[in-house]
Amino acid sequence: MASPPQAITGERDLRLDLFRGVALWLIFLDHIPENIVNWFTIRNYGFSDATEIFIFISGYTAAFVYGRTMRDRGFVLSSARILRRAWQIYVAHIFLFTIFMAEIAYVAATFDNPLYAEEMKILDFLKQPDVTIFQALLLKFKPVNMDVLPLYIALLLLFPPMLFLLLRYPNFALAGSAAVYALNWKLDFNLPAYPNGVWYFNPFAWQLLFVFGAWCALGGAQRLSVVLRSHIVLWLAVVYLVFAFVITLTWHFESLDRFVPVLLKDVMYPVDKTNLDVLRFAHFLALAAVTVRFVPRDWSGLNSAILQPAIRCGQHSLEVFCLGVFLAFAGQFIIAESSGGPLLQTAISLLGIFIMIGTAYLISWYKGMEGRSPVPRVKTRDADLAGGEA
């Protein structure tokens, strides 16, 4: 158990970038509520969605990057780097919050409709900006769709000791993480939110995915590969994915709902996103197992031109994520202003993704000019959103 992890392998696993890039696109699409295109995103076809992919890969890359630093340069320096990263993400979050406030203030000033007198009360917080802004700085006030970065900050703040453990006793650390997750079913801990309630993504639950990703990066994936090669596991995963797909279909077509046995519903529902329902976690695992099976690390397609845009986005995930949140705001705003139909929604979705890709290339170009090209070099820089640029 205490054997030092042999792998923090030097080579970059492009699959991580690819899937993180795709996850970023999906998150962008899902964040535009009125969007015909988000029928294509995976949340409609199973329990888990892009958030799981994103958090897992972020854990993986965080361990990949900072694990090396911790091994080579010690606990203090690597912790400092992790905390600096958390700070950068915090600043990014506050920046997005500012944009959000601008949008809200605009809506408050221009939109009025007696039909929505009650809903408009949500704008009341503008009447007390002192409280609201302060609560936002404390990460307690989080507007809709701005929950991922605070989760990330929380996970990174606790990551130094976790990484320390993972490097020495990886299985023990993972078991500890799973124990916290399971214990929380009973204890129901979560961080408080403002003005009421709790964090949308409970860090005590979601840490499991992050730590699991980190564990995989530090040699766990290799240990798991024996399991993943088994046909039984593959079939179990496929069967579960099909099951989840069928269940999700009954959410969209209510006429199908009556075919789901009541007993099964009592066990399954509600599928809780806040506390990373075990059905969601299992769905992610199944998805990952199947993906790893059919997309091997040395898959030639990873070098094909078609996939490069997604890979590039995945390599600059903090910037692209923030941009995606902003574009989702902007896109939604345009759709609302023009009462837009499916055509406009599709156009905005595509345009948004193009802008994300263009920006990712621009950042690559800039970093290349500055001599910090992420791809060929192994030297550690910041992990982009705990990760990408290693």
Binding site: P114, I122, N196
Partner: protein, 251 residues
């Protein structure tokens, strides 16, 4: 004299035309109006006593402000439509609307309301204020369960009504998780849900109402509420099987 008659005729004609367009506007696909659970108490009350007492419990989105707002809000519209569609029956809709009350407040107020009104049907509009206040979904669910227990204990049928579809506030006010809870509770308890969210979304998507419009006028709000009243009446009539037999001949 003929002049007055002409004016009256014109008014009648315009009114009729307006009513016709409202009815057309209000078209809602049947799939959006669930009638999976029978309103047996409503059916019995109509067939045995030819009357129906309805209590509407809700928050701000069950009423309209402005001149004569309550008269145009959906509870009053519902009463009127039911009277038209169920002639020969005494229909009474009593409203208990209080702005800013969360579901827990309403659940606590239900016993008193029920003992005063003795209704056969309770329409419970909930969720918006809970979303505004960020009430924990689990707590929201418990409150719904409590309230529905009270309604069942008072021997009344229940219809839950969820939030309005409000595209302009959607990026600030996330109602979907509360809507999910209501669907789940409805499903689990076999209680009818009036899916206002889906219905209004349909009206928006179909171009029937432009719910993005910024306006200080009441015209659209009145029409939306009228349509909600109509859709609600349709749900009550089909889930109570009130369209059958002699009722149908009177239409």
């Amino acid at each position: 004299m003929t002049f007055v008659m002409a004016i009256l005729a014109t008014i009648a004609f315009v009114n009729g035309a307006a009513a016709a367009t409202a009815a057309e506007e209000c078209d809602v696909p049947e799939s959006l109006i669930s009638a999976e659970t029978d309103l047996t108490r409503v059916a019995n009350e109509i067939s045995d006593h030819h009357r129906l007492d309805i209590s509407v419990v809700g928050s701000g989105s069950s009423v309209l402000s402005g001149p004569d707002g309550p008269h145009f809000a959906y509870p009053a519209q519902l009463e009127q439509v039911l009277k038209e569609r169920l002639p020969g029956n005494e229909i009474k809709v009593t409203v208990h609307i209080q702005a800013r009350q969360v579901t827990a407040d309403m659940a606590a107020a239900l016993p008193k309301i029920l003992s005063e009104d003795q209704p056969t049907l309770v329409i419970w509009q909930a969720g918006t204020v809970d979303a505004l206040r960020g009430v924990e979904p689990e707590e929201f669910r418990t409150s719904l369960d409590q309230g529905l227990d009270v309604v069942a204990g008072a021997n009344a049928d229940a219809i839950m009504m969820n939030m309005q579809y409000s595209p302009r506030t959607e990026s600030m006010l996330n109602v979907s998780s509360y809507a999910d809870v209501m669907r789940w509770v409805a499903e689990q308890r076999g209680v009818l849900l009036f899916d206002r969210l889906a219905i209004m979304r349909y009206w928006s998507d179909a171009g029937i109402f432009d719910l993005y419009t910024a306006t200080s006028g009441y015209a659209m709000a009145h029409r939306v509420h009228e349509c909600i009243g109509r859709a609600l009446a349709s749900q009550i009539i089909s889930a109570g099987h009130l369209d059958a037999g002699k009722l149908q001949t009177t239409r």
